[in-house]
Amino acid sequence: MSAALLIDILLWGSVFGVGLIAFRRGPPVFKASLREGSMDFINIVPRIALGVIGSGYIAAIIPQEVITGWLGPDSGWLGVATAVVAGAATPGGPVIGFSIGTVALKSGGGVPQVVAYVVAWALFAFQRVILWEIPFMPARFVWFRCAVSVPFPFVAAAIAMLIGRP
């Protein structure tokens, strides 16, 4: 709770800071960007609403046990590949993603596999991509970024295998 508050303070502090810089460039600059930002907000709200309000339903029909099952204790690169797919397919927000990672660690999943899972989830969990990234960014960029990101959970798992446990 306090972490969320701290992040909110940092966030609005940054808005205030860059807003002040814009204001010192002159009120027209300030007003133009204020209008620009508000228009972006108004345009984005319906899509965010659809995603946030709808994501609960998507999470409800892909039960966590299915994902945890994919992260079983089978180690090696096949396990890493499965973890990457599981990370991309995980619905819901960070609580679900990290909880699944914790469950997998506790139920005997290999550390490199769990690292691959967490990194894959962070890079291209499908729900965050369609809910947040596509509404805000050019779709061409988003697909390109996701495609380019595919090797990196494997790289992370390889580094984890090299340097060992935490």
Partner: protein
């Protein structure tokens, strides 16, 4: 020989009057339709399994979540708009553009790591950077850095749930990834879109 390329300085003059490029403005695209279908099918399945109560439970929970997120989305949009207004385009395309090299990827990585907030900040700001002259490579480094080594999600969610040891260890492993992803992105981009790249140089 003595003259520099004649086509570079001129178009920058009227950049002021033109609408900003790169901002998505269409309210309904195909991705929105896909999400809507996905949500409708999922809600239908929940309704068949749990009845109307199950559908309502999820709806009220997600509505309150949505209410909590809205102010942050506004903050993110304002942050993106202010940043795209105050950053000098010429400087951004020099330090984060296609020719910025390793330094551009490092700047993108550092920017992503210190950016406050969640997806409601990272994506509007990344979109603003793209619009003012950053290339795909530097923007990829920024987004990947935000998601993998940014402190926002780590402090709020990962440390409480997965523990400090695992989180710090995972962040250390992730340190080289944003620069590598940005470099790979740049490498692939110039080969996929060689013409577009030279267009951007000329503009």
């Amino acid at each position: 020989m003595s003259e520099p390329s004649p086509n570079s300085p001129a178009p920058a003059e009227d950049a002021e009057s033109e609408p900003r490029p790169g901002r998505v403005r269409t309210p309904i695209g195909w991705s929105t339709i896909i999400i809507a279908v996905l949500v409708a099918v999922s809600a239908g399945l929940v309704w068949r399994r749990d009845g109307a109560d199950g559908v309502l439970d999820i709806l009220t929970h997600d509505l309150s979540l949505f209410g909590g997120i809205l102010p942050r989305v506004l903050a993110g949009c304002l942050l993106g708009a202010f940043i795209s207004e105050i950053l000098p385009h010429e400087k951004v395309s020099r330090s984060l553009g296609p020719k910025s090299g390793l330094m551009g990827l490092l700047i993108g990585t550092a920017f992503g790591a210190i950016l406050p907030g969640g997806p409601f900040t990272a994506y509007p700001v990344a979109s603003a950077l793209l619009a003012v002259g950053a290339d795909f490579g530097a923007t990829i480094a920024m987004v990947v850095s935000w998601t993998l080594i940014g402190y926002g999600r780590a402090v709020a969610w990962e440390i409480p749930i997965m523990g400090t040891d695992f989180t710090l260890w995972r962040i250390v492993i992730s340190l080289p990834l944003p620069v590598l992803a940005g470099a790979l992105g740049r490498f692939v981009y110039v080969r996929l879109y060689p013409k577009r790249d030279s267009d951007e140089d000329a503009a």
